[in-house]
Amino acid sequence: MSTETPARSADALRKDDDTSAPAKGAGAVGAVASWVDERTGTAKGFRYLMRKVFPDHWSFMLGEIAMYSLVILLLTGTFLTFWFVPSAGHTVYDGSYEPLKGIAMSEAYASTVDISFDVRGGLIIRQIHHWAALLFIVAIMLHMFRVFFTGAFRKPREINWIIGLTLLMLALVEGFAGYSLPDDLLSGTGLRAAEGFMLSIPVLGSYISYMVFGGGFPGEAIIPRLFTVHVLLLPAIIVGLFTAHIILVMVHKHTQYPGPGRTEKNVVGFPMMPVYIAKAGGFFFIVFGITALIAGLVTINPIWAYGPYEPTQVTAGSQPDWYMGFADGALRLLPGFLEFDLLGRTWSFNIFLGAIALIPVLFTIAGAYPFLEAWITGDKREHHILDRPRNAPTRTALGMAAISFYAVLFFAAGNDIMAIKLHLSINDITNILRLSAVILPPLVFWVTKRICLSLQRRDRDLVLHGRETGRIVRTADGRFFEAHEPLDAHTRWRLVAFESNRPLELPEGSDSNGVRRMGAAKQRLRTRLSGFWFNDRIEAVTPAELAAAHHRGEYEALEAAAVEDSHPQEFGGHLHGGAEEIGTSHAYGHLEEEKSDR
């Protein structure tokens, strides 16, 4: 700006220019990289990103599948928009699909039939789109289960848990909107039901329905409106939230399962470049490829077979896409007496609870869970090492109970099909399912918790007494032992690397001093919950316990030693006679070896 700097010659000004010239030998790649970096300064970030470490585990691929299905959906969906006509306008079909010739229908339906029969390759795109939508939601849900059962929602990842739930909810709505677009008999029936749902909303129901449909059902507004929601509004929000989700994963760095060398302060795995790029990039193609194969071989949503939407027709056994099944099932189970007239108004709780309230309630409970658990444990630390599900028995049991409830609702959506297949009356099936919705979750809770605790006990046994070798050894005095092989430190670590929360104890005198405060009531609730969560817990084996186990086994081991001496080559472990005993001397034998190894 100013002319006040003549002290610097032009050369001096240029002096700094060349600092980021490509390194020798970097060639064309280096030249391009340098060109970009000089204009964006991204080399540092790029290097950081390419060196980023991701731990490897099959369960971490579930989120990836969801991500790739989303990409597939965006791609194929965009293709579909080129031929799909989002209009309820009337037309008479004149395409190459004979059975529909001359039939009156909406342009939306006609164009979807055209995509299926007259646009070359249109059907494969449509089928990939629909299969990917189904896969998308399966993957999100399984991914969510993984996150829940491993405790990956704990601090600092609560925000991502909420974002994930929102994504799932939006995906359900997005799927329903897409399913409704072709305006075939099934999707029209679905929309009709959706209108019934809206009508059940207290006070505002009919207003909401008339707003959404631009008047009475079905009207002509809903298809174009759903189209905008389906291809613009929701995808934009979903992509935005998904981006935030991924950025947070980068910021937090991925969680990892407990294992030797893995701590709360590190992340162990493979670097982005090249391993993860190859694995994850390759996996995208695998997901896409499998979706394309399935789409080519298995027909989904053959709308041409259903015919156009006719309000007076319906097909028997009409069912929504699988992900809406649970809400449909809830509707089938809720008894009619939940609808009543009060104060001259109709309260349709038989519909409202299942169709409108259920999803938000379930999502609110799920969204609150991380905060509830954190409040109960009082744990304010960051957690990057995942829990093995068995090591959080109450959480795992609660999760399984919730899944069982969901499963009952889901199966209820097929109560008519079950009745036919099982030759039972639909009334009986429905009543059994109603009962199951109440009884099964507590039962599943109890069973899961027992299973977790016994798995934990088995882990303890393994650590304390080593692995059964299946080899029976006879001692000098004729007794039989099974040889046990102690765990090496790495294997053992996997089994002992967890903490069990202990139940809170009510602070001294909080009951007796007679001072009733809000805080005290809250504290009591917290104590009670904490008891429910952690009273019957099993803790990891401590070094002291291992030592004690060895100590108690000494006697048998001394006896066994005699046998061992005669087979020094094949017997490297120690012996196990009764239930608990292992020999101290041999238990330490492997440590000696290990030490000399280092």
Binding site: A193, Y207, G215, F217, R262, F283, L297, I351, I538, L591
Partner: protein, 366 residues
């Protein structure tokens, strides 16, 4: 860190711990917990040491990539060569469109070739040595936090927020209200108010009616043929799907069908249990709304033996001999009856509209 350090001397003779008591913390110098043994040593794969194995992997990866290219070519060939109407019979799948299957399979293989090749490459040839990256606490340090607070307070002070409450309140008001016009436009223009639209059907108006007066009763017409029905056509056990006369001349035939669709049957009069039901029909011929009172599916399935109407959506079951009361399922209210009679020519006509709203319940129906 050797494991050895964590364990007592062998001869320490420390008093045995009762294992049945569960968790026991260390005494006698034992740490409370085991210590992390650290990363295990890297185990070499075949290809890491064996050059032949590595070359085999290389060939496999390249083979998969070649497969992908071939499949891509196949896709293009199929796209142009296969007639779009030709079919092919496949095991398990049955008869399908040949072009569709060919495109799906070639596309699938071309993608899988790339994917499997890349993953195989990563698994066999790329380093499988795990790398450790450090984590850092997310929380900013105290200085940075204070800095953020300072920026806020300084900014607020410079804007004189504290000293000028008037500005703060009016800004709050303006921001609070600015969304109202947008919301108003949306809510106000999305759709008309329902008024009594949900409570009326085409049956409640008459053909050729002017200003609510005159005209004649609407005939019951077969759906979809659109022909009128004589009383004598309705034999015992027959079922008619019915729409009101003139429905196709209305502004929104679909909207009218959604409300006005009716099911017509003849029952033995002796089987009809309610007098009202008998009175609103003729000679055992009765007409009921076909719209389920649950969430509005057409109640399409009629069981002749039991005289039950079944809704295929959620299996609500209505008993036609008992005023279409719900005998099973999630619906609450009976299907409304349409009062019918015979006109001078012998055709079935509706005397009046339904006495109550048809279809799903809504708040104002009372």
């Amino acid at each position: 860190m050797s494991e050895h350090d964590n364990l007592p001397e062998r001869s320490s003779g420390s008093s045995p711990v009762d294992l049945s008591k569960g968790h026991v913390e260390g005494t006698g110098g034992l740490p409370a917990r085991f210590e992390n043994p650290g990363l295990p040593a890297h185990v070499h794969r075949h290809g890491d040491d064996d050059d032949a194995a590595a070359r085999r992997s290389e060939r496999q990866v390249a083979g998969l990539f070649v497969l992908s290219m071939l499949a891509t070519v196949g896709f293009a060939v199929a796209y142009f060569a296969i007639d779009k109407n030709s079919t092919v019979t496949l095991p398990l799948v049955g008869v399908t469109n040949a072009l569709h299957v060919a495109l799906g399979v070639t596309l699938g293989l071309s993608l899988l070739g790339i994917g499997l090749g890349a993953v195989h490459w990563a698994k066999t040839l790329m380093s499988d040595e795990e790398i450790v990256e450090e984590r850092h606490v997310l929380r900013s340090d105290d200085g940075a936090r204070q800095g953020a607070i300072d920026v806020l307070t300084e900014g607020g002070e410079s804007a004189q927020i504290r000293r000028r409450p008037l500005i703060v309140y009016t800004l709050g008001g303006a921001l609070g209200l600015f969304a109202v016009p947008l919301g108003l436009q949306l809510v106000g223009s999305l759709g008309p108010l329902p008024k009594n639209d949900l409570s009326t059907t085409l049956w409640s108006t008459r053909i050729g009616q002017r200003d609510g007066k005159g005209g004649r009763k609407r005939k019951l017409m077969r759906d979809p043929e659109g022909t009128a029905i004589r009383l004598t056509d309705v034999t015992l056990g027959s079922v008619f799907h019915v729409l009101p006369e003139g429905i196709n001349e209305t502004e929104h035939p679909l909207n009218e069908k959604v409300k006005a669709s009716v099911i017509l049957v003849r029952l033995e009069e002796s089987k009809i249990r309610s007098q009202r039901q008998r009175d609103w029909g003729i000679d055992g011929v009765v007409a009921y709304s076909k719209i389920c009172t649950h969430v509005g599916c057409p109640v399409g399935l009629y069981e002749q033996q039991t005289h039950h109407l079944l809704c295929p959506c959620h299996q609500s079951t209505f008993d036609m001999t008992d005023d279409c009361k719900v005998i099973f399922g999630p619906a609450k209210r009976p299907l409304p009856q349409l009062k019918i009679s015979v006109d001078t020519e012998g055709y079935l006509v509706a005397d009046q509209g339904f006495a109550e709203p048809v279809g799903p319940s809504f708040w104002e129906r009372g």
